[in-house]
């Protein structure tokens, strides 16, 4: 076996014996290919460059600014925000729904694809699971920030009612966070063992001790494999309904409120679909960034982008269907308040955002995925970026436009987020990026053992196909004939 170098200060000797050596591997896996995969997968754990610390410093600076803004809010109250009694939910709650939404894609998609034994996704499941845990951690902060008096969260504990969707939401998010963390941890165990065995002695002692502890003494014995397989099967089956229930419950916070814009029965599935839509976009974006930075082009190929892009394209149609269902049913009945709501959305103050959502969030991504010429990695990443932004805008429209419809005969208020809200939002995105950056430094971003055992190299699509996209690459039998 060749020696693997290139891990910066900490060598990764491939000749070091590892528990996973000798286990069955997927077709096409050679010792050299596997050693290269391990080197690529473990290199970020062993090597930390200057640019990484600069990036972390920048993120910490943004978070510090957000903390300063939050301190201003704590000292002066919510008066420093644009929130008032008539529009009391704004950027914070829209961002809460957005982050909880993108948390969906990770675990849900990973579980569905694992259950269906889709081989192509093995190299991206870890990233998807990262997104879930991190987005949940960030998203769950927003209700606390929105409360103004954060200590009043204790009222929910002391006086919480089973009948309240707010209480359901707390249970659902807590349950999902714990489940997602477990689901992230389980397939990490063999990779922790790999890091334990492969990382050189020059790696910091704390890091080696952490991997030793986290690996749970993994030796890859048949008994351990059986137990791990059983645990993952249990979590796969449990996490799917939990993930669906979480965003359904989030939607109920709106649809069980007596407000015209929220008075619809489709909110549950509509929110779940929107969550998967934005979540897939988040996975594509993270995949593109990590692929570029960590040089994972051999393992994250055009195929992963294309398949996730197809999912994104399909969801543009599903979102269109849900939106039209909502507009047509509301518009047909035209109950009191609905004309006002439609007017403000379509030709009123929210018109630019409304058009942005439809054009940039639905139409353009759909068209990008429709035409083979634009269905490139760059095109798919562009579509994902548009979808991610548009879905935040869509949540803003749901929340703010919904609250703007007057409940009584008073003049509708307006809402303009202040610097405090924008700063805290920037801090949340910085925290999201920081946690992802730290996770990528502590855990292999690719599930190495699963790629070795279940996926192997992309035999049907050479790496060169990435640079020159070809539809036929996905149809090996036709490509062969050609």
């Amino acid at each position: 076996m060749e020696a693997v170098t290139g891990a910066g200060g900490h060598a990764i000797p491939a000749t070091r014996p590892h528990a996973a050596d000798g286990v069955h591997a997927a077709p096409g896996v050679t010792p050299a290919w596997r050693a290269r995969l391990e080197e690529r997968g473990l290199a970020p754990l062993a090597r930390t460059g200057r640019r990484y610390w600069l990036w972390i410093g920048f993120l910490l600076a943004v978070i510090a600014w957000a903390l300063h803004a939050y301190q201003a809010q704590l000292e002066n109250g919510l008066i420093v925000t644009g929130l008032r009694d008539r529009i009391s939910w704004g950027v914070y709650i829209a961002s809460f729904v957005f982050f909880i939404g993108i948390s969906h894609a990770g675990t849900l998609l990973s579980a569905i694809l694992r259950v269906t034994r889709a081989r192509w996704q093995m190299s991206v499941t870890r990233m998807a699971e990262f997104i879930t845990v991190v987005a949940l951690m960030v998203g769950a902060l927003f209700p606390f920030i929105d409360m103004g008096r954060v200590d009043r969260i204790l009222n929910l504990v002391q006086y919480g009612r089973w009948q309240s969707p707010l209480l359901w939401d707390i249970f659902a998010i807590t349950t999902y966070l714990v489940g997602s963390t477990l689901y992230l941890y389980l397939p990490l165990i063999p990779d922790f063992a790999l890091a334990r065995d492969r990382l050189g002695p020059t790696a910091p002692a704390w890091r080696r001790a952490t991997y030793r502890l986290a690996a749970l003494g993994w030796r890859g014995t048949p008994a351990q494999r059986r137990l791990l397989d059983r645990a993952m099967t249990v979590m796969m089956c449990v996490i799917i309904p939990v993930a669906v229930s979480v965003h359904t419950v989030v939607s109920w916070i709106f649809s069980m409120t007596l407000r015209v814009a929220f008075n619809t029965t489709v909110f549950g599935p509509y929110f779940v679909a929107g969550a998967i839509f934005s979540g897939v976009a988040a996975i594509i974006l993270l995949m593109a960034v990590l692929r570029k930075l960590l040089h994972l082009e051999e393992y994250i190929t055009r195929k992963q982008f294309l398949f996730l892009g197809y999912l994104l394209g399909a969801f543009t149609l599903i979102m269109t269907y849900f939106n039209l269902t909502e507009y047509v049913t509301h518009g047909y009945k035209m109950e009191a308040g609905v004309p006002f709501h439609f007017t403000q959305l379509m030709v009123g103050p929210f018109e630019p955002l409304f058009l942005f959502y439809w054009i940039c969030g639905i139409a353009i991504p759909g068209l990008i995925m429709l035409f083979p010429r634009t269905r490139t990695i760059a095109g798919i990443v562009t579509a994902a970026g548009l979808v991610a932004v548009a879905m935040w805008v869509e949540r803003f429209l749901i929340v703010v436009a919904g609250f703007r419809v007057p409940l009584m005969a008073y003049e509708p208020s307006d809402y303009t987020p202040t610097w405090v809200e924008w700063s805290i939002l920037a801090g949340a995105f910085a925290l999201f990026a920081l946690l992802i950056s730290v996770f990528a430094k502590l855990f292999p971003v690719i599930s190495i053992w699963e790629v070795v055992e279940h996926r192997g190299p992309e035999l049907d699509e050479p790496a060169s196909a990435v640079a020159a996209p070809d539809r036929r690459a996905l149809r090996p039998e036709r490509a062969g004939r050609a």
């Binding site: 006086y159 919480g160 089973w162 351990q224 137990l227 645990a231 939990v242």
Partner: protein, 214 residues
């Protein structure tokens, strides 16, 4: 007519102009007396009953008069007397009103008769000592095991529930109310038991490593 006489006549006329209407008004508004009786103490959240008696200067009861029961209240920078209840006097000049006691401490209650063409206005005050604390608008909150916010016995004894006699749908609504909390609790317990199973499997993975080494 001398100047002095003319000035005196004008002064007299002015006095008559002021005094005559006042005298007429005084003659038309009979003095009234209002007495108020309140319980000396009350518990927060309970209903307090106020008994008011209105009579004229001779002690005769005044029927069909509207009495307002008020209490001082302040909210942010606004303050003033807030009407808690109103009642009309009966043939004995008695009016009975009740109101929910929602403020802890000494509550100053005031009964007000605004007066009319015949009777002058009058008022009377009393204080009620309100004891107790707690959340007034939550009937049952928090986790109260067993049975959460309603006893499971409520399901088996619907006669205790006023809604149960209205109809099947109301009965189902009452049943759902009684069950509220249980579906969530059962779902959560199921999911978390799976989590516990997985954690148990993790321990077994660690134990399997020790066995392999042994």
């Amino acid at each position: 007519m001398s100047t002095r006489t003319f000035a005196g006549a004008v002064l007299l006329a002015l006095l008559l102009l002021v005094a005559l209407p006042l005298a007429a008004l005084a003659a038309g508004s009979e003095r009234t007396t209002l007495t108020i009786a309140v319980p000396p103490g009350a518990s927060l959240g309970q209903v307090a009953v106020v008994r008011v008696t209105l009579s004229d200067a001779t002690g005769q009861p005044i029927p069909k008069a509207t009495i307002l029961i008020t209490a001082p209240l302040s909210f942010l920078e606004a303050s003033g007397d807030v009407v808690l209840a109103d009642a009309t006097t009966d043939a004995k000049g008695v009016a009975i009103a009740d109101f929910d006691v929602r403020t802890e401490g000494t509550l100053a209650i005031k009964a007000v008769f605004a007066g009319d063409e015949r009777y002058a206005a009058s008022s009377a005050s009393a204080t009620v000592n309100v004891a107790g604390d707690g959340q007034l608008y939550v009937q049952a909150a928090g986790v109260q095991l067993p049975g959460f916010d309603r006893s499971p016995g409520a399901i088996l004894a619907p006669a205790n529930n006023a809604q149960a006699n209205v109809g099947v749908l109301s009965g189902l609504a009452a049943l759902w109310h009684a069950l509220s909390g249980w579906p969530i609790a059962v779902a959560l317990m199921t999911i978390w038991s799976f989590y516990a199973t997985v954690v148990g499997l993790l321990f077994r993975i660690g134990a399997a490593a020790n066995e392999a080494e042994a």
